[in-house]
Assembly symmetry: D2
Homo-oligomer: 353 residues x 4
Amino acid sequence: MAGSSFGTIFKLTTFGESHGVAIGGIIDGVPANEPIDVDAIQAELARRKPGQSSIVTQRKESDTVEILSGIFEGKTTGTPIGFIIRNEDHKSTDYDPIKEVFRPSHADFTYTAKYGNRDYRGGGRSSARETACRVVAGAIAKQILAAIGVDIVAYVDQVGTIKVGNEIDYNVIDENPVRCPNMKVAAEMEALIKEVRKDGDTIGGSIRCEINHVPVGLGEPVFDKLHAELGKAMLSINAVKGVEFGSGFDCVVMRGSEHNDLFNEDGSTQTNHSGGIQGGISNGMPITLRVAFKPVATIIKTQTTLTTEGKLVEMDGKGRHDPCVVPRAVPIVEAMVAITILDFYLRDKGTII
Amino acid sequence: MAGSSFGTIFKLTTFGESHGVAIGGIIDGVPANEPIDVDAIQAELARRKPGQSSIVTQRKESDTVEILSGIFEGKTTGTPIGFIIRNEDHKSTDYDPIKEVFRPSHADFTYTAKYGNRDYRGGGRSSARETACRVVAGAIAKQILAAIGVDIVAYVDQVGTIKVGNEIDYNVIDENPVRCPNMKVAAEMEALIKEVRKDGDTIGGSIRCEINHVPVGLGEPVFDKLHAELGKAMLSINAVKGVEFGSGFDCVVMRGSEHNDLFNEDGSTQTNHSGGIQGGISNGMPITLRVAFKPVATIIKTQTTLTTEGKLVEMDGKGRHDPCVVPRAVPIVEAMVAITILDFYLRDKGTII
Amino acid sequence: MAGSSFGTIFKLTTFGESHGVAIGGIIDGVPANEPIDVDAIQAELARRKPGQSSIVTQRKESDTVEILSGIFEGKTTGTPIGFIIRNEDHKSTDYDPIKEVFRPSHADFTYTAKYGNRDYRGGGRSSARETACRVVAGAIAKQILAAIGVDIVAYVDQVGTIKVGNEIDYNVIDENPVRCPNMKVAAEMEALIKEVRKDGDTIGGSIRCEINHVPVGLGEPVFDKLHAELGKAMLSINAVKGVEFGSGFDCVVMRGSEHNDLFNEDGSTQTNHSGGIQGGISNGMPITLRVAFKPVATIIKTQTTLTTEGKLVEMDGKGRHDPCVVPRAVPIVEAMVAITILDFYLRDKGTII
Amino acid sequence: MAGSSFGTIFKLTTFGESHGVAIGGIIDGVPANEPIDVDAIQAELARRKPGQSSIVTQRKESDTVEILSGIFEGKTTGTPIGFIIRNEDHKSTDYDPIKEVFRPSHADFTYTAKYGNRDYRGGGRSSARETACRVVAGAIAKQILAAIGVDIVAYVDQVGTIKVGNEIDYNVIDENPVRCPNMKVAAEMEALIKEVRKDGDTIGGSIRCEINHVPVGLGEPVFDKLHAELGKAMLSINAVKGVEFGSGFDCVVMRGSEHNDLFNEDGSTQTNHSGGIQGGISNGMPITLRVAFKPVATIIKTQTTLTTEGKLVEMDGKGRHDPCVVPRAVPIVEAMVAITILDFYLRDKGTII
């Protein structure tokens, strides 16, 4: 109800503010007896963590996860997995300048309006720091999904106007700081991000995700269609403004005779405008989706902003922010996808006795 | 869990197949003592109903709703509202041709794979007929929201490559069969739809929705952000392939200095790239969203399809389908938006004692 | 949230007031491909229906269920089952006398306080009439459970001070109007009920239920223990004041050495004080529970009551009420047990991949 | 779904095994701006903690709670409260003797059957240690409820055959180690518990709880009746075998004319057989309930038990267990009641706009 949980069977609940003692979560409904590699969880966190390259925020956080329950002798027991990540870099003094203003296009204003209080230490609960907990749960979900053959790959396909195009090499995604599957385009994107940062500004981007080998039959009609829940998962990530599946917004200009995916004899389809989902249920083809991220709201340029007293003032930006959010958002997209797919896999088990 | 419910407090659960006895639903969590105009519910159904104009399906359904409980002496009592809509046009013979094939880009294949059976009478549960129940619940939600000042307006903003542009007159939306807020553009869209139908084909389109006077503070961090749940609501509608909020996919090419919505002294903003939502919580500005609908999968043109026995065969299309889904989808979009906003309004009441 | 749903996967949602147009429900999460005998549903309703014998209310209701969806060619399809039962005996004039008073120990006062309105036509949503919908869902659950070997039997074990004792013949439960598994004791109970009715009064009673051949492993720690959810199911039935499992309240005076159920080599236990559940999870032994029902609040004797204007007045009772609720409550107990057990059966399927 | 959560708006989710690193929880849906005294939370934990008197288990646990989020400057912020309690006394060697046996009337057998693995370090997730997390959440709920006038008091009313009777002094409940509201009876109970312990045995008991000044109107028909959810809350506590409200099981022998609670002019009632709840909704009278606890299953006496290999063997009991669970269960009952009442208080806020 208060929105800190995601999933129905495989269910993540998170807590924690960016400048509190710790963040963490509980994963309930973890299937029993699945081997879990805790190092692999930490490795996923490293893909999201600040300071990993020169084009992301330089804040210092080791993002070390401590697993507190639910795993015994290297395997899940079926009981909930509790975990915490201590906050290390939470000098509240960093945030004194923002104590009395509502930053434009941040959640300062809306949180204060909703809750009647101000956690002026930073982004608090609205900070993207919370997504580290999603990455932990996603890393666990990924390992369980891998055992049943599902693999998930996300990458940056656009930064500003630079698009990746059709020459894609999945192997290079983590070989460049942008997480773009084409080294040449990645270099262009990196240059753009650096230029934007030099301007004290930020830039938008988008991430594409492919989910392969999803069993046929996942997804629940009518309201919990597989792409509806995946869409919610994506839109719940900070800075996301849109999501599309398969043909996506391009479908608007298409005709049915062109858009329909004709079958092969084995039930696969010749095209995949459906993006692997028909009627809200997976059809065995790759599930494809694309997510739009707005430019980060924290900029260095001077902006007019509003004080908590209702006055407009000029504010000089400073701080250690991401000039472009997509490089660090790739593991978050993958994590939310993994949580969603595993949850639907478990939900489907009750369909037939 | 099985996906037939939407909402948490104001909660709609639906049942019914396109060719069964009836469809219907239960709305639980309806606030007590709200006046309800049953004729207004029927009027919303008329906006969604088949046969309403020459550019929609000519199937015959009166779509008459029977309210069975929860309203007494013209007001909600606080108990659940049960309702049914009898199916009148369900001659199963219509569907004999499809009994042994999986139609391309329909849900025939995935439903059979998931449930291990085939309701060959028609679209069954995957039919858009189910959305009539959403319109009933939405019409009730709209009336309750109107009493607190919220208004919701949706319209067709694109059919194929024809876009509505900036000259918008909300008053004409229901004055033309396309539900486009510009009579001239509407005529072009209508012509395109007729041309497409003549070709035995179908065409995609998109709908834009604006929600005005939403109280500040609706939406729940972290996973149940207002736009995340609205996005799920949209993606759960048949044929939707994408959804975007505020700046949407255009944000990808924007810089932060351009995208940030600067405040006015009263807390409103000069621009509205955020689409009325910051950090997942409404900020009092209009909430804006756009939804992409694919071309209807049922076409008259001959297509190759797959039999339930696994053979490829040629199938001649026939039947009474919509050449373009968006004119009838406008009230569905409004309905799902209304259900979602009212639910968050009620959820917010528990935030502060 | 508003309390009209029960279950998590196999989930019943109900609507309807005693004096409205109809009552009904939706069962979501019904496993696909299970044969359902609709006559058997109607037969269960007959066990609950008014007028079935001389010791129950003589109201006239045929309680005919109409199944609207979810069953095709005699089997469940996996889609929700919608159903309605029309109210036939709802002359509101019957209830004119109660329009302006709150009857003692009824829900008139609390509903009015909660909802700020009065559905003076009768018990409204608080009427036990609502339980007919539970019997429909329970009859479906029972049929599915029977296919996996689970059987459920409930019976009246006490009326007033008359107890059934140890001589029990399950075969005679439906051979007497009390539903007591001992014909001699049943006759005594029947005589007591008639005497009480002659006095214009009512009497309490209790029902015992046994659930046999439940698979080992059903129930979810920590909060959703099998008996916790069964207990909630029982306490949600009108007039129930208490519930106990296995040794129940007798455990208070027992010692551990006496109460512990020692194992046999096959994992069964020599005694069954645990009532078939250990740590909230079924252990394969019969699950046993007992439910206390208060005397019906509607009596013929003159009582002081409170007007809606806040005055105390004398009210002469009249009407067609049950002198003792337990004979008709037996199928309701079985129904709620069946719904609960089937739900946990489906929930357990996600425990191990 | 997997059962580690309780509540709908004010919602506690817990994790942790008795012999893992830590236990803990997340409370979501905490109303904002409520002052919280962290020392009062620790004081409630002290009432539940091992080693507090000579008649409880002598295990050593400081049960120190660390609050990680959701409270800022002494008040709730509205964001989830995360907390952990480190396990200090988890030498797994303690449990070597039980590694290969299923202890009678423990959850060893059922957990192994359900999950297909054995956490042989101790009770694991089935251990009553988990209830410490409930006490934390309950202590927070109590503070918030106190601000709206609700008070909750529980006490031991029976140990073995010794009952407290009618002479009750609430002030002495925490003045004696049994938590009985009569010092003389408490001394008798204490003597009985010591005698039982000397025998290497354990004894059952019961707890009564009164909830005063609950606002009229809490509770949701039909399935989520206030006492149904309270009953589930009680039955989810380790060792509970039964629960009753108001007249409870005594209602079975009563007549309606005797059981009905006649009104006073102010809407209160002359008697309170209803136990403060009518039709599942609070009526403003004190809510009264009673809970039966079985004798602890761990005894010192030698018992026959079953090995994991399926052999019957004699097992000598040892270890530091409670001879009677009720003294330490009093704060747990209060905690679960507080969580439930606060949750219904928040749920009720959506009933009327």
